[in-house]
């Protein structure tokens, strides 16, 4: 039986990779200290975002709804929409909490009639790449091999344009795309509560662990619910990345991964964290 991705972050198996001395100048303070994510364009490819939910608080700056025509062609509807079933709003709320001044863009690729086609997902990603997005939160993916090549090409294109694709590792054991690609930042949930306590995983394809267990997420009209899922870990990392980009514009995905690795909680504190915290205080 394959282990679930989050198991890499359980206390008894969590690794503490050595920090690289030459990178010692990269500290959390240097990386995101004082940043609010101001002006960074963050696309949420999902079910839409409900801009009036208090968790999002009007942070949405633009919309794109992917529409599949009867002829199979995709078009983009950029008029404002809302969230068709709440998943996108839950993710957007987490991003907004970490990076309150990041500019959110709602890219609706899921349909109320059940999921979304891999084609709609690829079309939404294409829109995000072509419209100046700097970070894309992908708390979804496809398990259909048919879309492997198309999504791979788009993920590479995004990487070449310095666009960070942050994907939720699939909660299910099937390989899911694009979270399996080397060009994306793949995230599963760890047991921490503080978004800045993210972990680095030295065993790909999953790169980082972020809070995704029993997190408060936006739910229905104006409510919140306590949920667990990798879908909620990815937006936490998306928020951190927006903070870093606001402070250090122009970073490439490989530099971003280097910064995230260096500032990861399990790399910074390669000993029992409670001991380290006691020393710090």
């Amino acid at each position: 039986m394959k282990p679930a991705w989050h198991e890499a972050f359980e206390p008894d198996v969590l690794q503490h990779p050595a920090s690289l001395p030459v990178l010692s100048a990269i500290t959390p303070e240097w990386a995101w200290g004082g940043s609010t994510g101001r002006g960074v364009k963050v696309a949420v490819l999902d079910s839409g975002i409900k801009n009036t939910h208090p968790a999002v608080d009007g942070a949405v700056r633009g919309y794109c709804r992917v529409v599949e025509g009867e002829d199979g062609q995709f078009t983009y509807d950029e008029t404002p929409h809302t969230d068709i079933f709440g998943h996108g709003t839950a993710c957007a709320g987490i991003i907004h909490k970490v990076a309150p001044e990041a500019e959110l863009y709602s890219v609706q690729v899921l349909k109320p009639t059940g999921g979304g086609s891999g084609g709609a997902f690829a079309a939404g990603l294409h829109w995000a790449i072509e419209h100046g997005m700097q970070v894309c939160n992908l708390s979804l993916g496809t398990t259909k091999r048919d879309f492997f090549a198309a999504l791979h090409e788009l993920a590479d294109l995004a990487a070449f344009k310095n666009i960070m694709l942050v994907t939720a590792a699939n909660n299910m054991p099937q390989p899911s795309f694009p979270s399996m690609y080397a060009s994306v930042i793949s995230v599963a949930c760890n047991e921490e509560k503080d978004p800045f306590h993210f972990y680095y995983n030295p065993a790909p394809p999953m790169d980082f662990g972020a809070p995704g267990i029993d997190v408060q997420v936006a739910w229905e009209e104006h409510d919140y619910a306590t949920m667990t899922g990798n879908s909620f870990a990815a937006p936490s990392m998306t928020g951190i990345i927006a903070l870093i980009l606001a402070k250090h514009p122009g970073l490439t995905p490989f530099l971003m991964k280097t910064i995230l690795r260096t500032t990861a909680w399990n790399v910074r504190l390669p000993v029992d964290t409670s001991v380290a915290e006691a020393h710090a205080s």
């Binding site: 039986m1 394959k2 282990p3 679930a4 991705w5 989050h6 198991e7 999902d46 079910s47 068709i84 079933f85 709440g86 998943h87 899921l110 349909k111 109320p112 009639t113 059940g114 999921g115 708390s139 979804l140 398990t143 259909k144 939720a168 699939n170 909660n171 299910m172 054991p173 099937q174 949930c189 047991e191 995704g212 267990i213 029993d214 739910w219 229905e220 409510d223 619910a225 306590t226 949920m227 667990t228 899922g229 990798n230 879908s231």
Partner: protein, 278 residues
């Protein structure tokens, strides 16, 4: 030759239609018997297995009705629920995208929710419908090849703790096998139905339809009663049990069966050649 419309002819038509129905019913049964499990039995087994793995007190399985885009209860299991509650839950249809089950079905990702009792709307609905308010829920999508098939929901662990990310990981593996088993079973049902329809069409257009019908009816009766057929059903049941263990088990099973078939073919060739091979 076209028969004149007489009361006798009408009576013969009605009798023929009845016999045809019986024969097709027999054929349908043949398909159902050959299936690893009856469809409902299969779904119930899946829910019970999921409950056992996670020690959940209540388990349900809803399938997507593609015509209406609603999630419809197929199985509701749990000693904590009375028969009336089970029946009430069965009547409940949820449009895709609504509630946690709808959310999971639409996103294809499982979630755990651990504060159900703090949600006034959920509490009111659960109290009214089933007279029981769960605290924790794990909802798992059943992802088919061509989209979502449905969801499995599990409520409240027996020890009172909430579902964990570990439960989600374990159930993820299970969900993949469950979705494959459901797809196989649906395909078998469809093939049986298609075969029945084709036969109906053939019988309807053939001049000596009654003769053909009698042959079919006789064949069905004979086949079902033969020891060979009963053995075949046993093989199908065993293969079905293996198939539910997942793709790897299915591959090994096929390899073993293929090797055995090769061996039998080789034996047959030797027998045919009268021992002339080394």
């Amino acid at each position: 030759m076209i028969q004149p419309a007489t009361p006798e002819a009408d009576h013969a038509d009605a009798a023929y239609a009845r016999r045809l129905r019986d024969a097709l019913g027999g054929l349908g049964m043949l398909g159902t018997l050959a299936a690893p499990q009856s469809y409902h039995q299969l779904l119930t087994l899946l829910v019970r297995d999921a409950m056992q793995v996670t020690r959940a007190k209540i388990g349900t399985l809803r399938l997507l009705d593609k015509a209406t885009n609603e999630l419809v209860f197929e199985v509701v299991e749990g000693a904590a629920l009375g028969p009336r509650a089970v029946e009430a839950a069965r009547q409940f249809r949820v449009p895709l995208g609504q509630g946690i089950a709808g959310w999971v079905a639409a996103s294809g990702q499982p979630v755990v929710r651990s504060d159900l009792a703090a949600d006034p709307r959920f509490v009111a609905e659960a109290t009214e419908r089933i007279g029981y308010v769960p605290h924790s829920m794990l909802c798992l999508p059943l992802n088919g090849e061509d989209g979502i098939l449905g969801v499995i929901e599990l409520f409240d662990k027996a020890d009172g703790t909430a579902f964990t990310a570990d439960d989600m990981g374990t159930l993820g593996v299970f969900g993949e096998a469950a979705a494959a088993a459901i797809t196989q079973s649906q395909v078998l049902n469809d093939v049986t139905r298609l075969f029945g329809l084709m036969l109906q069409r053939l019988l309807g257009d053939t001049p000596d339809a009654v003769l053909l019908h009698d042959h079919v009816a006789e064949l069905v009766a004979r086949v079902v009663e033969t020891p060979d057929y009963r053995d075949a059903i046993q093989i199908a049941l065993t293969a079905g049990q293996i198939a539910r263990q997942g793709p790897e088990a299915r591959r090994y099973c096929l390899q073993v069966l293929d090797a055995f078939a090769d061996y039998l073919r080789a034996q047959h060739s030797r027998a045919t050649l009268g021992g002339r091979l080394p």
